[in-house]
Symmetry: C3
Subunit: 634 residues, 3 copies
């Protein structure tokens, strides 16, 4: 502690205290009128010389001496005067009983974010080690204080880990000179001390308080007033706080998201908000590449293949770069039981998992494995609040300055997922103010779908940003033209697919009055192209709903899977799946969905049986003209 | 302008001109006997001191003064003398009426390509910014002059973009010291001035003239005299000029090419020519890796999947490295309507597209989207001029010194594509002089096919170079042995495939007398191995032509596609496809090709109908014994 | 040679020898009492000045002169005295007949591994060039001496290859100063001399001897005494020596291995042993990433696709980094004829191939292409000695300090491959001492299989290390829990697969009394998931063996392949395959295996015929209740 700290908040000093300077104290640490413990290091004719620290020594002239002392004796002195040449003179203080209070050097602590202003000067940094990287030369300790993160180089022997006793998460004091290296500022450290006890606690408190303050989500008004959304706002604020804290702590973030329009509308704004916040926090301009990655999921859930790959990359990065393991953020994805094998594998590592999704959740299965879980169903709302709508607000809580870029996004998300949320009208109005009519919003959604298809499992960052016009270079004209081109190609390909498929569609009338349409998407449509079976089925269904009117069910089936869509019929798909699995021995039926959209898998050799039985169940389902698959995402 | 420039070409100076030195002029800019405008900055007993620029000042002794002046007054002086200690003395000039002509500092402009000779000295560079890269330390402005490109570092604050007003494509003057950094020379810039008006125009003109001159394709005689080829020569020269200019301007080039023998024979020579030219132009030895990439196409056209991936990489490189977007060069590929969705997507970005192809083109569809389009059909020639033949000449126009490595390549290209061009004999003779007999040329072609199959969609640069013996390390023996090994494996695998498939081949005699052979390449041949369905069909066809003699048609069909080959029957495949698509509702028939080679796709469930109908049309096709699929590429 | 060397081991000098200093000798090379040849370079009143080398000159005072000499004359001198100011005086020696022995400068040779102690001082290194890398600045010659490898930088012109006459493998002497660069120590070389003749031979001998000594495998006792294994020990020692030598010579190593439990148990220990040895040998902490790579094979043999990719990467690395081509180490894989096309392709390059495998080998086909081939069958042993068992010993020979981490691995390998080796009991005991009971060993094997499936063709280094608990961070609890999670998921997925498949299994009784079970793994089981067809067939078989008891044969068939398993029936699968291929025209039958396990491929259209004919042959096979597929790996 420094004297100021020792003095307490009121500035009053207890008269019975004498201060004992730490060895590294300098003349700057010595204050007038304050008693210090001195040690005699020399006796001369005209007095004695005392040491207060390694660099603080001075004469006590005989006229100022009260006793006689030999080398090694200790007595109490106060500052007498500092001569022009820097020599210091002390006088003895008459004090008998006192408590000794140690005084640390009053480190003039530097801030990591202002090191470039003092290149080459000595600076002291106190903070926490967040990464330790061994190079072929020095060892680099990345130290975080409340203002940022800086690498501190210590050289023991080429390629040999310096200070093996220092670990990630230790609190340390570093003394050294900031230097400009090839690509960033780093401290050439003269010393690195692991703090413990009170010192560590003080730094920890300071950093925690600073992080806590900086992590606080920004208080932004939702783009649209909406009671249903209000229920979710607190949850989203918690996620925003957690994500901001994650960035501040230097932990990487990996997003996995549904590879469709709503998934893009959810993940792209959050990606940009996090990247901008990372840029703000970290000195290294490449930090956002090291600390952030967005990837679409291969399946509508978090497959083991994706999870093992993600895990292995994370472990690799930890070994190679000394990075922390990431936080996993699942968007428009991740609420269901199918995600649990992946979660259970990651659970054995320090990888927090956060889900923001609007698909029908299975909280019993997933919640024990999650750090945060935001889903409208958990608040008696439903899929109409799309993930894109939630994530635009989440992005704004993380980095509010991007609001202007995002006003049209909830409308795109809603239209992509055919949301009939009460707020849709207002969202569409907002988008209209940005120059989007309803057709152009639809076009953006179709262009996203089309681009996502061809990008396969790449994030396609720049192209998607241009299509969605978020974080792009602001070339409005390119955005419009690009969307036109892609949306038009999308419609043309869907048209070609329908030309091939529609003549093969079989029609039946079920007992409950519903029209049933069946199409073999493997045999009677183009394979391995756009649109894929799910979208093909959707296009057939939409066309038939238009032609026939409700109630309509469409089944698009392949050798071992089927996609289901309904308008006006209440299909309880989870229950149907459970029943089919029980009834059809060796059918291997699984799948999911909800009232009007779903998909099932089965064993190829039982296809006829499964489909026949499925249709029997559909014929018994309730008609509910209100229900439309147009209001529901897959 | 400098005084020499101001003096004009004749060296005569107008008597009524007085020169006004720019602030950064130095004593070196001052010439004897030339009148300059001076500004009084001090008055002393024995005269006045005048400033001509920031660093040019001197005394006008009273004996040389004609008037009386106060501080701030301007009058005209000439150099009187330069003393040994560097002091300058001026004398007043008697001149009443004059025009003032500004004089810029006569920058001793350095050349980018000779910076290593003046490391540490101050140098001035004038050129154009071609790339701006922000590092964690300085901002790097890559500046191009007529001799090369050099990074100029400016440090504002760590990781903060210096000089945000400077953009790519600006013309600038840089003053600084060339230093050797880890991996290259860079200028530590003291100043970077954006030029405008005349200055910018002068640099632009200079660079343009230099580029224009350097971009000029080399005037090389074709390897073989050939009237048909002469028609294409001008087009190829335009492409060579454009590609050389692209390299000089620092724009990356990406080649996409057909993944077969002719495609390799086309792309490998161009790849090497461009890489060598890049090496010649750019200081950075890694430039060719940053500025060039060759990739085989997944399909016989430019798929949306490839295009979105290429686009995204390009946008990523622009963001990360400040690189320009690339020029796309399509080789042995790219002339057809199927390429247009990809082209239309790229069109919205600054990505020029150039095609050199010999497949039947659809100029109406593609030309509006292309910068250059070379195709023999556009000059009433045909596929017999293979892309490999054209590109060997193109490579020589770009970098003529590689001619000796390329003499055998057109023959390999021709034999791979079964070209019966009139020049084939001469090409084969050329190859014979290099030690290739006809069998060994065939072997190289087969080895290329075999290697390309296993490389999937990797360029396989080094292996392919060794197989084609272009740009390889000149180990002739390895080349021969490697070709022998691969060609033998290829033949063995084809033999095994035929052993499986031939017994299943069905035979019919059509009404027009043609033999029709049909083979189910999915059901009656090995799948997912070499040879793939196209090559399997070709091998069956060749075997049957040998056995039966013309006219022969072979159909190799899978569940939703068929490959067609003909010898002696004139198949108008595009017309057949159009008719089939119209006649067979829900058939989803598409495809292409020309007289003797083609492929079609259809919906699996309509296979029988499509094939039956196709065969009916074949039975009505004209017999033309001249025609052979042996003379036509896919 | 230096004088000490010239003096021989006994320190006695022949009296008739006069030494002739090399031009670069310094005063330090001059010894008292030793006769040197001097050349007169000046005559003065009081004597003559003689040169002994470029930097060794001195006066021979007239009082010490025996004859009269002119400039250019040679005579013999000895050291008289060295004055305080460094001046040297000589005296003439009276000697008439003598042999002249040249003396090289006594280079104070530095060791590469102790350069960090003498940063900035001049050092001499003698060694062999192992890599030459051109940067944009200097050329880096990586020089290996007996202690390590160091880059030596020579700057000619930016980006221009310095000393083009110097090649990889040359023996050189380098003089320069070690400096700390960004990431490692490098020598800024003042000179680099290619040694030849005796000098080169001396360095070569020295390095060879050092390498030979360092390459020697460590003499470790096998974990388990086992006569069968003793036969293989010498072979494994040869491989260990070769691998250690490969590391010492700076040649990269690439492992390709079977992607199953035994393959992991084989490759992971060898990977770790090599990485640790590389760390020990090379200064660069990234060396192990540049010099080592492990990849699972896509197929149970070395496919052309993998081989062409590996080859192309290797050639790319050679070009970009000047690296040597790698040694290829095939583990649990590589002994069969199917591997030969790949080997024959690699044979044309400098890529030694080493195989350690326990599958039935075809030494006639592969041995001519291999540098080393270890396989129990070559010593009349069989698959019961699993590759994992062999490779644990191999790893210990390479780097014995890891023994404690490996004790449980042979048991996992044996149980994964259902080995009934006599040593199994002892291996299981060893594992028990480490805390594994039989169930937990099985769990590790299942977890490896499950993880390998989802990792596809990634090495999954860190995850696999954690599952196998080798080279992991020693978090025992995570290891156990991770294994539990993965093994449980594996069992659940197998259970689901069996639920789907078992009801479809067809049963027959063959004439030889064997039960035959057939399952269509494409039509009656889930596709594209875990377990894949091979494992599905195995699970069905195991279940049926349990239900029915021996003898049991199970066939799991897809459209163009079948997997075979037997318990208690002696199937000679290679013979069956040969017969089927001959008998069924157009069947395209191929495949392999041995007595109780195998797989075959055929053309889809001949499936019924092939399977019927196969079953007929099975019905004639001998019953042998001893035999179990439980004792045999695929």
């Amino acid at each position: 502690m420094t004297i100021d700290e020792a003095n307490g908040a009121d500035g009053e000093r207890s008269p019975s205290v004498v201060y004992d300077l730490d060895a590294d104290c300098t003349p700057d640490d010595v204050e007038e009128g304050v008693p210090y413990l001195g040690t005699v290091n020399g006796v001369v004719d005209y007095g004695v010389f005392v040491d207060l620290s390694e660099s603080v020594s001075g004469l006590v002239h005989e006229s100022n001496l009260r006793g006689e002392y030999d080398v090694g004796d200790e007595f109490v002195v106060e500052l007498d005067q500092v001569r022009d040449n820097g020599d210091i003179a002390f006088e003895e203080v008459d004090i008998d009983e006192y408590d000794v209070e140690p005084v640390d050097h009053d480190y003039d602590l530097g801030d990591v974010d202002s090191l470039t202003e003092i290149l080459g000067e000595t600076v002291h940094i106190e903070g926490q080690v967040v990464q330790i990287k061994q190079t072929g030369g020095p060892t680099l300790f990345h130290v975080r204080d409340e203002t940022g993160v800086v690498p501190c180089a210590i050289f023991e022997e080429a390629g040999v880990r310096a200070r093996p006793g220092v670990d990630v998460d230790d609190y340390v004091r570093v003394t050294g000179e900031p230097e400009r290296r090839e690509d960033a500022v780093q401290i050439e450290a003269d010393s690195l001390t692991v703090l413990d006890g009170e010192d560590a606690a003080a730094v920890e408190d300071r950093l925690d308080a600073a992080i806590e303050e900086r992590a606080a989500p920004r208080d932004v008004e939702p783009l649209v007033e909406w009671p249903a959304f209000e229920k979710l706002r607190g949850d989203l604020e918690s996620v925003a706080r957690l994500l901001r804290r994650t960035v501040l702590e230097g932990r990487p973030i990996r997003i996995r998201h549904h590879a469709d329009g709503d998934g893009m509308c959810a993940s792209v704004p959050v990606e940009l908000a996090l990247e901008r916040f990372i840029d703000e926090v970290h000195e290294d301009p490449d930090a956002k590449r090291h600390l952030f990655k967005r990837l679409p999921s291969k399946a509508p859930f978090y497959e083991m293949e994706d999870a093992t790959r993600d895990l292995n990359f994370a472990l690799e990065d930890r070994e190679r770069h000394g990075q922390k393991l990431p936080l996993l953020l699942m968007l428009d994805n991740g609420s269901t039981e199918e995600d649990t094998p992946a979660y259970e594998t990651l659970r054995h590592y320090d990888i927090p998992i956060v889900v923001v999704d609007h698909h029908h959740p299975d909280p019993e299965a997933v919640d024990p494995l999650l750090t945060e879980h935001v889903n409208p169903y958990l608040h008696d709302e439903d899929y109409r609040i799309t993930t894109g709508m939630m994530c635009v607000e989440l992005a704004r809580m993380i980095y509010p300055d991007m609001t202007d870029e995002l006003r049209h996004v909830p409308a795109v998300a809603g239209i992509s997922d055919r949301s009939e949320a009460e707020a849709m009208e207002e969202y569409v109005d907002l988008a209209r103010e940005e120059g989007y009519d309803e057709q152009s919003l639809k076009d953006v959604g179709e262009a996203l779908d089309y681009a996502a298809h061809w990008l396969r499992y790449n994030s396609g960052r720049h192209l998607i940003n241009d299509v969605l016009d978020v974080g792009a270079d602001g070339d409005e004209e390119r955005h419009r033209e690009l969307v036109d081109t892609l949306a038009e190609k999308s419609r043309r390909d869907i048209e070609e697919q329908l030309d091939a498929a529609m003549p093969h569609v079989e029609h039946d009338r079920l007992d409950n009055g519903a029209h049933l349409y069946r199409v073999d998407v493997e045999n009677d449509a183009h394979r391995f192209t756009y649109p894929a079976p799910g979208n093909t089925t959707g296009a057939v269904h939409d066309r038939k709903v238009e032609e026939t009117g409700d109630p309509v069910i469409t089944i698009g089936y392949g050798p071992d899977f089927a996609v289901l869509r309904s308008d006006g019929v209440r299909l309880d798909i989870p229950t149907m799946v459970t029943e089919l699995d029980e009834e059809i021995v060796g059918g291997g039926v699984s799948g999911g969905g909800h009232l009007v959209v779903g998909s099932i898998k089965y064993v190829q050799g039982r296809r006829e049986e499964v489909l026949d039985s499925l249709i029997e169940k559909m014929a018994e389902a309730d008609i509910d003209e209100e229900l439309g698959s147009t209001s529901s995402p897959i």
